[in-house]
Symmetry: C2
Subunit: 250 residues, 2 copies
DNA sequence: CTAGGTGAATTACATAGGTTAAGACTGCAT
DNA sequence: ATGCAGTCTTAACCTATGTAATTCACCTAG
């Protein structure tokens, strides 16, 4: 079944735990109902909104972001295929940030009740969702470290390592290449740098043969070398979770 | 009952929802078993550890932090009285960061089983824990914004606003003053600045009459003014959660 | 009361990264 | 074809912040 193999949410969660056929089917149905599309610079959710649905990105890139009053913008995190837009916000009163599309995005809108049914009936799913939320928290912490301590070159290199590994987890890499639909302005907003300096830094990374970046395609000739330059330690992505080996009944 | 009123965990959670007497009692018992103490610069948990307990800070300040290979250190977040050290890490293989004490710290160690019992029997407690985890995620996002976009002065001002409000939520402020046991080196590690620049910035904040900082005591003469300087919007702390008004059976 | 350690303050100087501006390239819409 | 709009690139210049080093003021252990 094609969908089963290509649903990024399933691919992502299976890095952590093996899902039963039924669970996968459930996720697939969920990801095929209420599917929406949005163009490249739209908002999926806005600060202040109070979503009553859970949105899952199926294809394309989005980001969490926040504006300051004077126009400065920080991209808080990247929302890649398979990622939730608003995990568990049902508890909170309103969104404290916005989620915008960076490319055309396809996403599924799950009504709240549907999510609750799924997790109630399938503890392994709610376990997997929890794992996902915890990994996202870890990623956010790592961005804190990047923004606080790493210099521009390390920071950019670190970002690319992270993107590559996250995309690989959802089957969106080919060899040592992947999509990178972020503009330099986007990278600047994500890494707290100016566009000019992002450009300088990319040139430097290219000169060091650490990356090849043509159009929207990123190639990493030597991942180990890039990781070194970034002081990148993949432990925070928790790709080695034990759940994976606990049981395998599908 | 004195303990009931001074347990910072209860005070914190009650900002979000009203707890029943039984629930509070449960939290109190939890917070009085397995109590540990640690001096000012110790580690409560280390990167790589695999904690089988849930640690709750009862008094004193701690922080999550991470070292880079060359000695740079980033404080990722502050762990204040009433905060969990390791919410839900049972799912993950190992700690991807350390938690260290900034002052002498008293904390309770809850065995995993105990936590699971509590949340299983008291859905409102697990709801409250979830709220807490979500607020922590929001705080982490706000730090990302601070580190990425705010200049030193705004950044420091923002930190002080946040600390003050968080402490007020657990009854640790007096008027417009609170404890601030962070050294300037600590603030530097938290805000991604050098010690010298932290000092300069503090002088500036003092000259602007935005803060009074003597010894370990911070006073904020005019909170609105400080918030302005920081572009501080408290919405991310979600102190207005609706759960608070839903029911009140205690 | 003295030594050594820690935190704060300040100065002089260095630099990573920001700002502004302008040109070149791209793709798309008319 | 033409023209606009977004993106990338580069250059010249500027500044917020970092680095190094010194002094002072505590505090605590002997």
């Amino acid at each position: 079944m094609d969908l089963l193999a290509s649903n990024p949410l399933i691919l992502k969660l299976e890095q952590f735990t093996r899902l039963s056929f039924e669970e996968k089917q459930l996720l697939n149905v969920a990801a095929s109902e209420g599917v929406r599309q949005i163009g490249p610079r739209g908002d999926i959710i806005r600060e202040g909104d109070r979503p009553q649905t859970l949105n899952i990105v199926l294809s394309g890139w989005a980001c969490r972001y926040k504006h300051l009053e004077d126009g400065r913008r920080q991209i808080i995190s990247l929302v890649l295929p398979g990622d939730f837009c608003d995990s568990h916000v049902f508890v909170l009163r309103q969104m404290d940030h916005s989620i915008g599309s960076l490319t055309p995005v396809t996403y599924a809108q799950l009504p709240r009740r549907r999510v609750e049914e799924m997790t109630a009936k399938h503890p392994r799913l709610s376990q997997a969702f929890l794992w996902d939320a915890l990994v996202n928290a870890a990623i956010q912490r790592e961005w804190t470290v990047s923004l606080g301590q790493r210099h521009a070159l390390e920071r950019m290199a670190h970002l690319m390592c992270e993107i590559f590994l996250r995309l690989r987890g959802v089957g969106q890499t080919e060899g040592n290449s992947c999509d990178l639909p972020l503009t330099q302005a986007g990278m600047a907003d994500a890494m707290g740098l100016s566009v000019v300096h992002v450009n300088r830094t990319l040139q430097e990374l290219r000169a060091m043969k650490l990356i090849v970046l043509k159009g929207r395609t990123l190639t990493i000739p030597d991942i180990a070398a890039l990781q070194d330059a970034a002081q990148f330690n993949p432990n925070y992505l928790h790709l080695d979770a034990e759940g994976r080996h606990l049981d395998a009944n599908d």
